[in-house]
């Protein structure tokens, strides 16, 4: 299929309307089991606390829109590029079917949602990944949406905030995925040179090519408690060095201890912390 065919291809899937419905997910059931302490909790209750377990404090994963709702001022979010979808550059077997399935499951077109909005009246550009979609992996669309969001921040003189949640590069797009690391990082270089603020928040999991590109390049690198963060997979490391790894290996706390993070921020303090930083950098209007 030629490039032109891709452009002309009719969209099979509706984009997310602005008054969107809550995407379907595993938490749609009435009750949710905490993967950490195994407590059974009312999903409604769990959502009230931004998916933090009431009995043990474990941070369950949030959908991209739940995250955006928890951070931005009500009805201020304007999404970018919601209708962008993945092509199949390598003609990889079953890739399209897998994408279809995840679109249906999540109500998303891809693994990242980008856009602009306000946080306590501070204008921001924000990107939030959703690990339910192809494990949050970065292919051409994820790379492009993030690079465009950074360019929007540049044009509008706004700070950029990125919430990573990704297993790494999208294998089905091969070396094109790898190059998205350069695409996003090059855009961040421009942001950096213009003196604009970039805050990176790593959530569970942030690994591989995402960890080794934009997620590690914040002026401030933060993480949620116990988030898995690392370059190589634990199993590969164990096979390579034939050594037992500590239990907390590649957790947010482990990275903090080794000087790789500025802070670990619990979810209930996230918005306040970000707003404080925005304020210190002069982004709070009036």
């Amino acid at each position: 299929m030629s490039l032109k065919d891709f452009f002309n291809k009719k969209r099979k899937y509706a984009t997310i309307p602005s008054e969107r419905q809550q995407p379907t997910n595993m938490n749609e059931g009435v009750m949710t089991k905490c993967p950490e302490c195994k407590s059974i909790i009312y999903t409604k209750e769990l959502k009230k606390y931004d998916m933090v377990c009431i009995s043990c404090g474990h941070h369950l994963s949030m959908t991209a829109y739940e995250r955006i709702d928890s951070l931005l001022d009500e009805k201020t979010f304007e999404e970018y590029d919601a209708g962008m979808t993945s092509a199949n550059p390598l003609d990889f077997p079953e890739y399209h079917q897998k994408l279809d399935k995840d679109r249906e499951k999540t109500g998303l077109n891809e693994a990242v949602v980008t856009g602009e909005g306000y946080m306590e009246d501070c204008p921001v550009v924000i990107g939030v990944m959703d690990s339910r979609f192809r494990m949050g992996s970065m292919g051409s669309v994820v790379g492009e949406k993030i690079a465009r969001a950074i360019e929007a921040a540049l044009t509008k003189n706004r700070p950029f905030i990125m919430f990573a949640a990704s297993g790494g590069a999208r294998m089905q797009e091969g070396v094109l995925s790898l190059m998205q690391m350069a695409k996003t990082s090059a855009a961040l270089k421009r942001l950096d040179e213009k003196g604009l603020l970039y805050i990176s928040v790593m959530t569970d999991p942030t690994t591989g090519g995402v960890s080794a590109s934009f997620a590690s390049l914040g002026d401030y690198n933060f993480a949620e408690p116990k988030a898995l963060i690392g370059f190589a997979g634990r199993r590969i490391i164990e096979q390579t060095i034939r050594e037992e790894l500590p239990d907390d290996f590649q957790t947010a706390e482990f990275l903090l201890k080794h000087g790789q993070l500025d802070r670990v921020i619990p979810r209930d303090e996230m918005k306040d912390t970000l707003v404080k930083i925005l304020d210190i950098h002069g982004y709070k209007e009036q």
Partner: protein, 325 residues
């Protein structure tokens, strides 16, 4: 005598047969020149058939050949006055990456590359060409130095990947790679990257954000090794050959995907068969790249690199005109 790869067996066998016949005619003083000449024609055809039509998995094997020339082999031939510089000033000196200053046809350059060994002892010293964060930080230090003194940066890529280890994670493997990628994007001097062997994932890209990227004909560049792809995608590591085809990792593949600028030809059968001839091929391409990039201003160099990467990727759906346009 080079050690040969399985798919080369017919060529080697025929070559041996010809040699045998030749010594036989000398011993017995019989004229077999017609037969020998026929066999030599057949050998020529066989070589063309096999080497002229290499399959992805065969290229992978050549890229991994134990005798394949390394960064230091090329540096010694391509440059004069190479002086290696060590250390990242933060932690240590990673011998899986070498770098330093040199001259290319009289002009000062900075040269950096992954360095593997050719035997077990050297491979242990070089950690099989798989760098730790300090290797990438050394490379970045040398690139920034090149920028300060306005000289081009030439990188040779030859790694299975960044080292997957406990210490590497503790010292920030992700951050080291990410930082290199970001800073390379902003360098105000020409940057040329040449993949000479295996270009494995982020660990390769950390030396790969160039204005021009070239690949030797039998080198590979990929997001994951064929074995890794096989295990991950088909839950079985034994489909590496198939994965090497599906994943599009060879120089011809990357040329077709418009990710690399030039595919540098290799001597028949692979660079290890004739290093000096291979050097000539690389020399020509480097010379041309440096000449082209010398015409660009600092800002143009940065913009040229930016546009190159913003264009990569295939999109569908709404509003997919590339963002740079």
């Amino acid at each position: 005598m080079h050690s040969y790869l399985p798919f080369e067996k017919p060529v080697i066998e025929l070559r041996e047969k010809i040699a045998e016949l030749k010594s036989f005619t000398e011993e017995k003083e019989i004229d077999l020149s017609d037969e020998i000449s026929t066999l030599e024609d057949r050998l020529e055809q066989l070589e063309k058939d096999i080497y002229g039509n290499l399959q992805p998995w065969q290229r992978v094997q050549i890229a991994r050949h134990g005798e394949r020339p390394t960064t230091l082999d090329y540096i010694n031939y391509l440059f004069t006055d190479f002086m290696e510089m060590h250390g990242d000033r933060l932690y240590g000196d990673d011998e899986a990456i070498v770098g330093g200053i040199a001259k290319f046809k009289g002009r000062p350059v900075t040269v950096i590359g992954h360095q593997r060994g050719k035997d077990t002892k050297e491979n242990l010293k070089r950690n099989f060409g798989m760098p730790h964060p300090e290797g990438y930080r050394k490379a970045l230090r040398l690139m920034k130095q090149a920028e300060k003194f306005s000289r081009p940066v030439i990188c040779f890529i030859d790694t299975k990947g960044a080292f997957p280890g406990k210490a590497a994670e503790e010292r920030g493997q992700s951050e080291a790679i990410a930082r290199n990628i970001m800073e390379m994007a902003g360098l105000k001097v020409p940057v040329i990257s040449v993949v000479i062997g295996e270009g494995g994932s982020g660990g390769a890209l950390a030396l790969g954000v160039g204005n021009e990227i070239h690949m030797l004909e039998n080198s590979t560049y990929s997001v994951i090794s064929p074995e890794g792809a096989s295990a991950l995608l088909w839950k079985d590591a034994s489909y590496a050959k198939e994965a090497s085809e599906t994943m599009k990792i060879t120089a011809p593949d990357l040329k077709e995907l418009e990710i690399i600028d030039k595919m540098i030809p290799e001597v028949r059968g692979g660079a290890h068969k004739d290093l000096e001839q291979q050097v000539i091929y690389i020399d020509e391409v480097l010379e041309h790249s440096l000449h082209t990039l010398a015409k660009l201003s600092e800002d143009e160099l940065v913009l040229n690199r930016y546009d190159k990467y913003q264009k990569i990727g295939l999109l569908a759906g709404e509003n997919v005109v590339p963002s740079t346009e």
